[in-house]
Every structure is written in structure tokens, then in C-alpha cells.
Amino acid sequence: MITVSEQLLDEVREHGVRDYPYECCGLLLGRYTAEGKIVSETYPISNAREESAKRNRFLIEPVELMRGERYAREHDLEVVGFYHSHPDSPAVPSQYDLEHAWPTYSYIIVSTSPGQATDLFSWEQEPDRSRFNREELRISE
């Protein structure tokens, strides 16, 4: 289970709409707790994929991630997951997503179309890497 505030989800949606028709991506920073992950900040990251592939691929460079990790540590937070957008595609992980993910992290995917963000779901990888499961997304105050 992952808990996120409506305000942070809006930040994710806005980032997706801003970067349409390209994919946006970013980190979800927060804490691992007994009640699942709690997100306290989003950390937008530039999409490192070359121009031609940005529409359906995103890549967070390890350097960027290290920077994000460092930022998190300085603020006593951890990376609890990632978000990205699927322009004109459903908010469902692709095979490509599955091969490039780790369990435990939350993967929030937002479906975008011109000027708006539609579905937003969170996904978690099965520990044996076989598939993604919809993760319960709780909206906090």
C-alpha cells in the first residue's frame, strides 16, 4: 500500500501534462512504514532518453537517481518509488516496465492526453518479477 496526498498526485499529473507528448518521470520520496509506503515529496527528473524515443520511453540516469537519493538522505527520506506517464496509452505497466523494475518500489503511472491526465494507478512488482500488481493507493489529507 502507498499513501499519497491529493496535492502530490496533482503534481504528478501536472508534470505528465506538461511533458506531453513525451513521457515524464520522477522519484517518490518518503518512508517505508508498517502501514506501507508514505510519500512526502515528489522529485521530478528530466527524461534522459533521446528525443526520438521520449514518446514511449523514459530513463532516469543513475547519476540523477544518486542525486535524488542524496537529496532524500539529506532530508531523512528514502526513495519509495517512481512515477512516469504513458502518453495516449493506458496507465498499465508494459513488458518494458516489468523488465526494468524492482519489487517493493511503487510505480505510479499516469495516462496523459493533450491537456489532461486521466487514469493514475500505482503498481508493485511481484517479488518473482513475473508481473505487476495493482497497489492500493490511499489518499491522505
Partner: protein, 484 residues
């Protein structure tokens, strides 16, 4: 050497919850080896089935990416720290089911397609998609030749070929799928042999038939992509409508003289051919390549563009030629591009379509048996044999050739005067009305037009059309006169 490996949060559950683990190792690779042989379930998150590091997993030795050092061989020292950092990547394209059902490539195929495989835009996945794909080519002529050859070479797993023609000498100037040895053979057989020679790993299916409203839907059903290599309007509209009705992409190309066009018509995603040209031109207005000629390389270029777009469709590439019409002029060597828009009123792919099944396309294009008959039945005609006989008898006749000067250079009937069709009325005074006049061209169509034009302009003399033109002369009188 003892080195410390720091475990990222999501992987700690596979390492008994530890955030740091100390192992003994001489290299970075050995350290990871030690780690994953102790914590076996950690292994599959770091390594893929081929036992190499997953491509999103980065290993840092202190602050350096080991890929920038010596990779797994990078030596480690006492007290070094190894960090495992994912570069998170992902993307749309829901293809999990597709990926599992794609055919495998043999080692021979991997070698053959290596130039594709090393590009991430194709890669193993893409090459397997090509192998799983099927394409139906309508025609194995000028356009079909490069289309078929490049698709076969690219490893498209199943290629269907539709044609009913026989290889003729005049085809070989541009239809490079056929060779001199194939003269007189059925085009589908000649094409099949050539494609098999290019790539024995693919299937070729031949359909020796004319594409008709009766068989099109049945044929199209079994293929993923349709490539239009036809040279006439009825078939072009038929291919378009059948593609719209069956939901298939139609990779379009057409050629005339020095000019070519190409586009991808895919009604689900954009305009179809009818959105661009709702009505065919009146019959006879647009000459065929047989009448107007075509530069032999032109279909090579346009066909290669069609093959390119077909491969992109199969690979799921972006930036297809949907809603884009490419115009190419080989003589000025210029490409121009126009934007197309789907017509909501399109009779076949619009919001309220009126064409819901295939129709009679000959009739739609105005080619009916009545129209096909000569419009002026009163035209006086002479055969080549009769003409020759009359000349041999010493009868007084003048012969006017209304072809173009460059055609005159190829072949002439002796003792004729050249006045191209476009000048025949202006130069009417060069024709003696007191002598019987035989008018000829290549096949008899333009000379008939010339006779009508002269009559309308008030020419008083007797005008006779040479039936079958200079081609008939070559067939029936003098085979030394080349046919073209």
C-alpha cells in the same frame, strides 16, 4: 579483501533486511557473485537469464560506475564500498503478451540480421516481430520488386504475392525482382524464386489471381500489412476500401514518369486514400506508365519507401507516414510533403460511411465495356499488312507519324513525316489534302485523336488510321523495327 556492499531499500527483503553486507572479493564482479550466492533470491533482480547484469542495474565502486572502469573485472581494495543503483526506465507500449508469443531466432538468423539486432530500435524483440509478421504485396511490378526484396531481406516471416501477369521484356527496365532468364514466366513464380534466394528463412505465399472485390477480403484477412503496388485506379480503390473494411494498414505508392507518391493509409489512425481522392479521375485522363513512360529507378525509390514504412509499422515505430503524402520528383530530385486530414464525410472511413462492402471498382472508375469501345466508330482504318501491300504496289500515300520526336528516334516506319500530336493542327498545311493520308502512332490511340482533331479543324483530305500503330508494323510487316 573485505568490501562493503550497500543494498538499496527494495532489495533488502531479499537480504534478510540488511542494508549493508560485507563480502570477501578481489573484483567487483566477484563481490556481487559472493553476495548473490549467499542471497539467492537477490540474484534475479540483479542479473538476467543470460547471467549478465540487468541493463538498468548500475554498480558503483565508491563513486565510480564500474562500466567506466573495467566492468566486473574492476579490482577492489580493502574498505571499498559497492553501491547498487538502478537507473529506472520504463515506457508505454503494452506488449507483454506479444513478447511471449514471438518466434525465436535461430543462430543463423541472428547472424543474418545482426545489423538490425545491434540497433535498439529493432533489437531481438523487433526482429522477432518481423519474423512473426505477414505482409501482402499487391503486384510484383516496379513497386512490388523493391518492396518484396527488402521485406524478404529484412526477415518478414511471411510474404504473400498477388499477380497474374507474365514477365515481359519491357518489364525488366524497372522490375528488378525478375531477370532476363524469367521472360515468359509467371511473375509470381519468378518473384517467389528471387525472394527465396534472398532469404530462405521466410515463407512466400503466391496468389496467382487478379485482385477482385470477390477475393480481396478473404486474401487480406490473413495478413498484417497490405502494400499497394498497383498501376491502375480500380485496383487502388479496391485495395483502399478492403483495407479500411478489414482494418489493415495500406502502404501506398504510385509512380508516373518522373513523379512518385507514397503514404500510409490507415483508417483507424488517419486518412485513407479516399479522404485524399474521393473520386477517381475520368478514364483516360491520367495515362498509365505504359502510355506515359516511367523512369526505371523511380519505382525503386518509391518502393523502398514503402518497404521502409512497412517495417516501421511492424516494429511499432513512431512517425509513420500517416496523414502525410510524400511527393517525389526524380528529375528535379525533390521531396515534398503534404499534410492529409481524415475526411469525416469520407464514404468509406468517415463518420457515416456509405460504402460498407466492396463494390464494382471498374464501374466506379468509369471503365465499363461501353466506354472501352472506340468513341468514333466511323474512323477509317488500315492494317499494317494492307498498308505495306499498297505501298509495294506503288500507290501514292503519305504517312504522318504523330508520336514524339524521342519516340521517333527509337523506331520509324520508313518514308513517314513526323508531326507530333500536339502540333498536328497548327502544321496542318504540311499535309497534302490531295493525297490519301495514313496517320500512325505507337498503338493507334493518339493517331485516332489526331484524325479527329484534323477533321474538326476542317482538314479536307482523306485520313486513315493505322490500326495497332508502329507496334503492329513491327509484328506483321518488319520485325527489324524495334518494339518499345
Amino acid at each position: 579483501m573485505p568490501v562493503t556492499i550497500s543494498i538499496p531499500a527494495p532489495l533488502r527483503q531479499f537480504a534478510d533486511g540488511q542494508s549493508q553486507i560485507v563480502v570477501e572479493a578481489k573484483t567487483a564482479g566477484e563481490a556481487l557473485e559472493r553476495l548473490t550466492s549467499t542471497y539467492i533470491s537477490l540474484r534475479r533482480h540483479l542479473f538476467n537469464e543470460q547471467n549478465t547484469l540487468r541493463n538498468f542495474v548500475n554498480v558503483y565502486l565508491n563513486d565510480e560506475d564500474i562500466r567506466h572502469a573495467s566492468g566486473p573485472e574492476t579490482p577492489v581494495k580493502d574498505g571499498d564500498t559497492i553501491m547498487i543503483v538502478p537507473s529506472i526506465a520504463g515506457g508505454a507500449v503494452v506488449e507483454s503478451e506479444v513478447a511471449q508469443s514471438l518466434p525465436e531466432l535461430s543462430n543463423e538468423e541472428i547472424l543474418r540480421y545482426s545489423r538490425h539486432l545491434i540497433m535498439p530500435e529493432v533489437g531481438m524483440q523487433g526482429q522477432r516481430k518481423l519474423k512473426a509478421a505477414s505482409v501482402l504485396m499487391i503486384g510484383t511490378g516496379g513497386l512490388g520488386a523493391p518492396v518484396g526484396m527488402y521485406l524478404a531481406a529484412a526477415g518478414v516471416g511471411r510474404i504473400g504475392v498477388v499477380d497474374f501477369d507474365v514477365v515481359e521484356e519491357s518489364n525488366l527496365q524497372r522490375q528488378i525482382i525478375h531477370g532476363t532468364k524469367d521472360l515468359g514466366r509467371r511473375k509470381i513464380e519468378s518473384a517467389r524464386d528471387r525472394l527465396r534466394d534472398i532469404n530462405p528463412h521466410i515463407e512466400i505465399e503466391t496468389h496467382e489471381t487478379r485482385l477482385t472485390s470477390q477475393n480481396a477480403m478473404q486474401l487480406f484477412r490473413n495478413y498484417d500489412v497490405i502494400v499497394d503496388g498497383t498501376d491502375n485506379f480500380p485496383t487502388r480503390y479496391l485495395v483502399n476500401d478492403a483495407c479500411v473494411l478489414s482494418g489493415k494498414p495500406n502502404v501506398y505508392g504510385s509512380i508516373f514518369r518522373f513523379e512518385g507518391q507514397a503514404s500510409v493509409f490507415w483508417a483507424e489512425k488517419g486518412a485513407c486514400y479516399r479522404c485524399l481522392y474521393p473520386e477517381p479521375p475520368p478514364p483516360g485522363l491520367v495515362p498509365s506508365c505504359a502510355e506515359g513512360g516511367v523512369l526505371g529507378v523511380l519505382p525503386g525509390i518509391v518502393g523502398a519507401i514503402q518497404a521502409n514504412e512497412t517495417i516501421k509499422i511492424i516494429l511499432g515505430a513512431q512517425d509513420l507516414m500517416i496523414n502525410r503524402l510524400l511527393l517525389f520528383d526524380a528529375w528535379s530530385m525533390k521531396f515534398r510533403e503534404f499534410k492529409l486530414r481524415k475526411d469525416p464525410k469520407c464514404p468509406v472511413c468517415g463518420e457515416e460511411p456509405t460504402v460498407k462492402e466492396l463494390i464494382d471498382y471498374e464501374q466506379f472508375c468509369g471503365i465499363t465495356p461501353q466506354h472501352a469501345a472506340p468513341p468514333e466508330p466511323k474512323l477509317e482504318e488500315i492494317t499494317a499488312t494492307e498498308l505495306n501491300a499498297r505501298r509495294l504496289r506503288g500507290e501514292q500515300l503519305q504517312i504522318i507519324d504523330v508520336r514524339e520526336p524521342h519516340e521517333f528516334e527509337i523506331a520509324q516506319i520508313p518514308g513517314t513525316k513526323l508531326i507530333p500530336l500536339g502540333h498536328v493542327v497548327n502544321r496542318m498545311n504540311e499535309i497534302d489534302p490531295g493525297v490519301e493520308t495514313v496517320v500512325h502512332c505507337k498503338g493507334g490511340v493518339r493517331s485516332a485523336k489526331a484524325i479527329q482533331a484534323l477533321k474538326r479543324a476542317g482538314f479536307q483530305g482523306r485520313l486513315i488510321n493505322l490500326k495497332g500503330g508502329i507496334s503492329a508494323w513491327s509484328d506483321d510487316v518488319d520485325p527489324r523495327v524495334p518494339k518499345y
